[in-house]
Symmetry: C2
Subunit: 415 residues, 2 copies
């Protein structure tokens, strides 16, 4: 698609969204399956486009990690296709009657789930986000405007080409998936300000992208924010269980938002637990408060910034707390509202932790790593919201919809 | 309360919100009832404070309508008190288990309704908003920061005084209701930017307030937007019913957002219906398109602005449409996404209208005036949202809450 006027693209997406909103599940699922087949059939072509992106990235001195995120392989193409097929197999959220009742005057009131309209996705360089996000949005009956990064421009355009061809093949409007090819900063800001065209903007990327959305966006948005997740080992914890949970939450995949970044230990068990944790977390740098350093000789002192940090790597901040309340206060001060875990056998402690910790998810006696759309059984997810309005926690198909009131009467007027 | 640093007030509200979030229903309801009693006991005092506001308004050449909105009377004080008692009688939304399930690995997952935290309300000169909004927020377990207009400063401070005294009497933190006494523009902007302190901002006021929120707010907000509501009289309408609905929707209370602003008539019934409508709408100025003017001699031509306008008064735009699709297209072009009605006996037309019109509420064979929290049976409302995220349509107690995932395991870690 040529670089074009962003507003014109917005109008086209909005027009397409009206058809898509009333499209049946069978045609949406058909489009997803055809798109999956096309991605696989065009695998060689896709890899060629991706190679162009990779070569450009190399000349622009991208890091190895950036290049890895950008790279498509035959396996990754298959995973994209399988992802679309899996979404096709999920239940259609549109049309669900969420609730309904009859008023004394006979009015029948229903709340019905309907698509949002146009979802804008602005994201960084993983090309698989293109098909994953568009697939979920399409299933939920939304048109999608995709604004990827310049680094993945060729790959993204090729993937969107498959999706648009699939839409046309099943008789849905091609403009239900639009690639915003203009990857300039100016275009990104215009994209975030498509008032009346984008019904929900979803940023997928790091701090600077989220900050830019907060600064510039005038359309409604949902933030997939940081995860500064804590595991609190209570006085009443089974310490073997606690050890296994801490190690899993920190090390099973440290680079993701639901990994643990901070360990809090009740003073009653700190002397026993911390040395065991240190041993099991070999390879993880611990940065502790004064009390934990008095137990674990030789670890660095944690700063305020460390306690507030989402390390996304092999670093863990550690603090000893006097009691449950100390843990709750620590989390209120430093947490990012993502996922917070307690390990305990004490019912009252578990209940208080669940009630008083303000986060998208509170977890009792399990790893924070389970806070995830697939692990929760929601099917795929488009992100994990750390805000409170509209969506909180893993965002699946349902979070890509809204509700509408439908009121049936037989001539009622208001007195 | 003295004029103070807004950020400091935000911190106090946030601290109070932690207590309020775990307060039992009995103490919240107790506070509401004590506050209602105090408002009535202090009626004379309240009216004195209100008189100071009214005198200031007169010297500042306020309009009669502004002065009427600002005025408290013994009846209005009683209505405020009764409103608080009514809210006390509603079911507590906090703690509702919205859904729950068990994963194959044994994790038990629940979504539980919890308070938002701190709700900021910025509003114009009706002092009753002070107690209505604070009452609903308190019932839903939120702390409230109220930033009213300078015109109602004395009345608002006195009302908040009653609420704070009531909170203290039942052992809840006074700072769960905070009056932002600094009514400067600068303070309004600071208020809208209390990141990390205000969890949801609710503006209650006209265009310029909403525009200011869109421009300045960095905290999440819910917009109570315009209502450019249409009534579409289909070819298959019972014309007597249509007449009664159109008259009710336009004239029963023209100054509110769910009143009709535009009448669309199918061409098959226009020649019969429009003259009857004109007669029944005596006192309402009709502004029509070409086709309606060929039927109704002497009415003014409607401009594009007229079709887009929320008149909030005795004016109605009128258009003749060729068919249902013409009506749906007209609404898509000019509607504000509030409430849209069809009058018809045709099942297919009703179904298509409900499916294809994109609005908070679609109404079949009843007046748009029913789109209202109380009429829907939601108890009181804090506004009617015309946005799609978080809240759409009348916002009751539930829309002043969010959900949190609570996950229980017995040592699960992720492989």
């Amino acid at each position: 698609m040529a670089r074009g006027n962003i507003v014109e693209l917005g109008r086209r997406a909005k027009a397409a969204s009206r058809s898509l909103a009333v499209a049946g599940g069978a045609s949406k699922d058909g489009a997803l399956r055809v798109a999956a087949d096309l991605l696989e059939q065009r695998g060689t072509e896709l890899l060629d486009h991706n190679r162009a992106d990779l070569e450009r990235a190399r000349t622009e001195s991208a890091t190895d990690a950036q290049i890895d995120r950008l790279r498509l392989t035959p396996e990754r193409v298959t995973a994209m296709a399988d992802g679309l097929r899996q979404v096709a197999g999920l239940a259609d959220p549109v049309g669900e009657v969420v609730e309904g009742w009859v008023r004394p005057n006979g009015l029948r009131i229903e709340r019905v789930r309907v698509p949002l309209g146009v979802v804008g996705v602005i994201y960084e360089n993983r090309p698989n986000v293109t098909s994953d996000a568009a697939g979920l949005c399409l299933k939920a009956g939304n048109a999608t405007m995709l604004r990827g990064s310049s680094s993945a421009a060729d790959s993204n355009a090729a993937i969107v080409g498959c999706l648009r061809e699939a839409l046309a093949k099943v008789g849905l409007p091609e403009d239900a998936v639009i690639n915003v090819a203009d990857t300039s900063r100016q275009a990104a800001v215009e994209f975030m300000q498509l008032d009346g065209m984008i019904d929900c903007l979803v940023p997928r990327g790091g701090h600077s992208l989220v900050a830019s959305v907060r600064e510039h966006a005038t359309v409604p948005y949902v933030i997939d924010g940081d995860g500064n997740c804590h595991v609190y080992v209570d006085a009443g914890a089974d310490l073997d269980m606690a050890l296994s949970i801490v190690v899993n939450a920190k090390t099973q995949r440290p680079g993701v938002c639901n990994a643990a970044e901070s360990l809090l230990v009740h003073e009653a068990v700190a002397a026993e637990f911390l040395p065991r944790a240190q041993q099991s977390l070999a390879g993880v740098e611990l940065r502790g408060d004064e009390r934990s350093r008095s137990i674990l000789a030789g670890i660095a002192a944690a700063t305020e910034e460390d306690f507030a940090a989402e390390f996304l790597g092999p670093v863990l901040s550690v603090a000893v707390v006097a009691d449950l309340e100390g843990a709750i206060d620590h989390i209120a001060r430093y947490g990012s509202g993502h996922s917070e875990a307690i390990v305990t056998r004490d019912l009252v402690a578990a209940q208080r932790f669940c009630a008083e910790v303000d986060a998208a998810a509170v977890v009792v006696n399990a790893s924070t790593r389970f806070v995830d759309g697939a692990e929760f059984g929601l099917g795929s997810e488009i992100g994990i919201s750390t805000q409170k309005l509209h969506a909180r926690g893993p965002m699946g198909l349902r979070e890509l919809t809204c509700v509408k009131y439908i009121v049936h009467g037989d001539g009622q007027v208001r007195r």
